[in-house]
Symmetry: C2
Subunit: 549 residues, 2 copies
């Protein structure tokens, strides 16, 4: 049957090639000592050659009468030559319930270790691993075991095997209660032998690697640039698999929650004719015979959708910032989760909607992604993420007062520096036991021109930031929905009115009061998991120094 399935089994992994030794006759004369040495070497070489010749003869002989020769090999490239009803069981589904069943599995070779007449493999698929065993016997020949032992790590194989319960848990695998007794093994895609990084190094907790290295043992960790340069391999680690599955969950929870609240998803253009948030930090694009910009946010467009009566809108998409800052939390391209919403009388209606959405995300992650959270925690330990219901909302003034009480000197209308943000996060955590809170009513001076001033105090504004573990993840505000006031505010900020004419005109034909905010996806994932660099939560991060892969 195998012959039919893989009719063109074309190659076997090459055995070690015999090296030819030549020109030994020319080595004579010289000193006695040298002669003796040469003699010794010649003997050694002869012995080795003899041994290798024997091995090769053996190989050839047994190749011919290898009873298992149809049970292993390298498949021709899968080019959809045939349809096949064969069911492939996933590694994560290999449990004691499948004991004694004969099944097919497709997986990567995570590790391989030969031991006498046996070969132990660890097979990996995504976050799951299982032990597999080949032993010389009825079903496997010596050659077949050798073939398996020589397979390169990360190669993808199809294996037919019987699932066997084990008496002692296999601690090194995710599937601890079973192992596979392999009966057939075929390579679907071979990996090159030399990997640019080792997966076991890439999942080693940072501390462990360094500490041991300092002690002289040198168990390696993988530095960030090596990871990112070889992202395809780095993304295969259990940690990466968990991070990006959880991130997919953040998007899903964000959208599902908003759709349940009656929001409509919109798509906003990324190529725009004028810088949406002012001229600085914007990328320029050649656009046929003119030039354009990459949107720094969907701000203007989501507001235009509000003016167009969509009432509650969200969008998920890339946001571009030409900031030449190489920090742990800045990217030049990131994913914005954006919300805009008409409200009736008070922008706190919108804050409540956003904080509830965040709480639904936190709960969904906690309840549905516990495996992923724990996987990441193994490599990057952190405290579980804490939040309150309803969400804590402090006024900016209160935040400043807390910082001052802790010894910080700052003005009333001064923006929060990053260290002060973090300090305030710690103070809030101590006092209220939450990793998530809203800081409301920022000074007007530190917010964009379209921010609605506080009606009761012209120094403040109807604007807010939201924080996770002391770092900002959302910035938002009630927007000015009156063309007259918007014009005044733009002029106050020195913005060229001609360039934002279409934007201002949007408010001339009746505009509902509205507010919104923009969330950074990578930051939410990073901070929820307690990670420390936003590049860990961006699959292919972009910063001033990195454009590849």
């Amino acid at each position: 049957m195998v012959g039919m399935l893989f009719p063109h089994l074309s190659e076997k992994l090459p055995g070690r090639k015999l090296k030819k030794r030549a020109g030994e006759e020319e080595q004579q004369a010289q000193s006695k000592k040298a002669l003796k040495k040469q003699q010794k070497e010649a003997e050694k070489a002869a012995k080795k050659a003899e041994k290798q010749a024997k091995l090769a003869a053996e190989q050839q002989e047994t190749d011919e009468d290898d009873f298992a020769k149809d049970r292993y090999g390298i498949c021709p490239m899968v080019q959809s030559q045939q349809k096949l009803d064969r069911v492939l069981v996933r590694v994560q589904d290999l449990t004691p319930e499948k004991a004694e069943q004969q099944i097919w599995v497709r997986a990567r070779i995570h590790t391989s270790r030969a031991k006498g007449k046996q070969c132990f493999l660890v097979l990996r698929h995504q976050q799951s691993t299982v032990q597999a065993l080949l032993a010389v016997g009825d079903r496997a020949s010596k050659q077949m075991v050798k073939f398996a032992a020589n397979l390169t790590k990360e190669s993808i194989i199809d294996v037919e095997a019987v699932v066997k319960k084990v008496e002692q848990k296999i601690e090194s695998c995710s599937q601890q209660d079973v192992e596979l007794h392999v009966e057939r093994i075929f390579v679907i895609s071979q990996s090159e032998a030399r990997l640019p990084l080792q997966l076991e190094d890439a999942v080693r907790p940072e501390g462990e690697g360094d500490e041991v290295r300092n002690g002289g043992e040198g168990r390696a960790t993988v530095n960030q640039d090596t990871r990112l340069d070889n992202r395809v391999i780095d993304l295969r680690t259990t940690t990466s698999q968990a991070i990006f599955r959880l991130q997919s969950g953040v998007c899903q929870l964000f959208r599902d929650t908003l759709i349940n609240k009656g929001f409509v998803e919109i798509q906003t253009p990324k190529i725009i004719s004028a810088a949406s948030e002012g001229g600085a930090n914007v990328f320029t694009v050649s656009y046929f015979k003119t030039s354009a910009y990459l949107a720094q946010s969907p701000q203007l467009y989501k507001q235009m959708c509000i003016c167009a009566d969509f009432d509650k809108v969200f969008c998920v998409g890339p946001v571009f910032r030409a900031e030449d800052s190489n920090t742990h939390r800045h990217l030049t391209e990131f994913v914005g989760l954006d919300i805009e919403m008409a409200f009736n009388y008070h922008y706190h209606e919108v804050i409540d909607s956003i904080t509830d959405t965040m709480v639904q995300i936190f709960k969904g992650l906690r309840d549905r992604f516990q495996t992923e959270i724990q996987t990441v925690n193994k490599q990057y330990p952190s405290e579980p993420f804490k939040f309150l219901e309803p969400t804590l909302r402090l006024e900016y003034k209160e935040g400043v007062a807390m910082l001052r009480a802790a010894g910080v000197e700052m003005g009333d209308e001064e923006d929060l520096s990053t260290p002060n943000e973090k300090l305030l996060g710690r103070l809030v955590k101590e006092k209220y036991d939450t990793d998530f809170y809203v800081l409301d009513k920022y000074p007007l001076a530190v917010r964009p021109f379209y921010t609605m001033p506080d009606p009761n105090n012209p120094k403040y504004s109807n604007s807010y930031d939201m924080f996770m573990r002391g770092e900002e993840i959302l910035s938002g505000a009630q927007r000015v929905h009156d063309a007259q006031l918007l014009t005044e505010r733009a002029m106050h900020h020195g913005i060229d009115l001609e360039k934002i004419k279409a934007y201002i005109d949007s408010f001339r034909y009746g505009a509902p009061p509205h507010a919104g905010g923009g969330i950074g996806l990578e930051r939410v994932t990073m901070l929820y998991l307690g990670l420390h660099n936003v590049r860990q939560t961006s699959m292919f991060p972009r910063d001033p120094k990195r454009l590849t892969p």
Copy 2:
């Protein structure tokens, strides 16, 4: 109570101002005729002045004793001065069940018509309209009715009213069984009087407008550029509201179906270092001291995710094409719904997954967006969208044979022209009664370098397009997952290997066989609804000539 709610009622709509007439003494002498004319004019002016003075006096008098003066007016800008528990009922929820209830509604003034001591308003919110009536009487003064009659179209108002059942259906409104008897009316946001386009013109079926105009009556329709230049107003029409709600549904159905199938959502970078689909048609971005490109597709990145063991991935995001083509179906920026999936043995596993996803979308739209479909059909009539289960799959050869049988001359390895695509769509519809089908096994020569050749015939490939109403909405293929073959194919296409090194290297460390495809969101929406221009299904379309709004 109203006084408390809107304590700073600051303005009333101004009455007509009296024009002062001056310098009449200086007009003497001249001819008798002129004198007579002047006398007549003076008399006329005097009469007018007298009348206006009387009106003004009346106005002032009645302003003072307007018993309803707290029941109407223009609110100060909503700046979140106060929180208010008032419930606003949505127009769409105004049904006979609410008869005799006193409620508040926020809506736009769609039309306003004064008639003696009454004023009829049509109030609109999104896709819904309701008639509202003010009549001079106990609850409304003459001034209040006049105030309402003078409100500009598209202004947003808060109205307190009693819901009344009507005896005769109000055909012109979506809420046909009730009307509102207005007791209070306050302006939340005033529209400028002169609208750049009239909503009733913007929803008029194309044919109707033109025909009547040819007949001399001149009922206008709105041309596409006027619509797009004033998109914020154009998007308020029932048709636009319906189109973009349905489009939001396409995205949601796409993702929900795939997540149910075990797909993971990924985010791929849009700023890339090398043109993903070859050097033509790519936008260039200034990137700090170097330059970069805008991704023409997430192709390379979704494949890298497959190599990184995510197995089944999708992404929804902008795609950029610097094509200088001004057709009904090309945009320079559109939204790609992208899928990539590892398969076991045959790429038809992936085709089946994609066609099932499309079928789930079609069913979801049919079942959940019937109101929207019918709304759009009123302006743009079309046949309901038909599809088969399982989806019809034809081979390219068969398509060519059908075209030849219909008189088309074309070579075996020639690509389908747009007219031939459409013709084939009609032939398929006639023969199989479906608006959706797959054309499989395209000639290798017309596909990108990363397309897997057909193992049985080197002139063909494991690639496919999918069509809706005879237009392509998806292009896809099994990809070459072998670094060696990929290198050969890239060289064959004359691609600079150095530029795609990271891409090719992705396949060196074990890569599963995989296939996928990219769907154009705007095209799916357009073709599902039977529309004829992709700009109708892009909120803020981008083409070589349009970058704003």
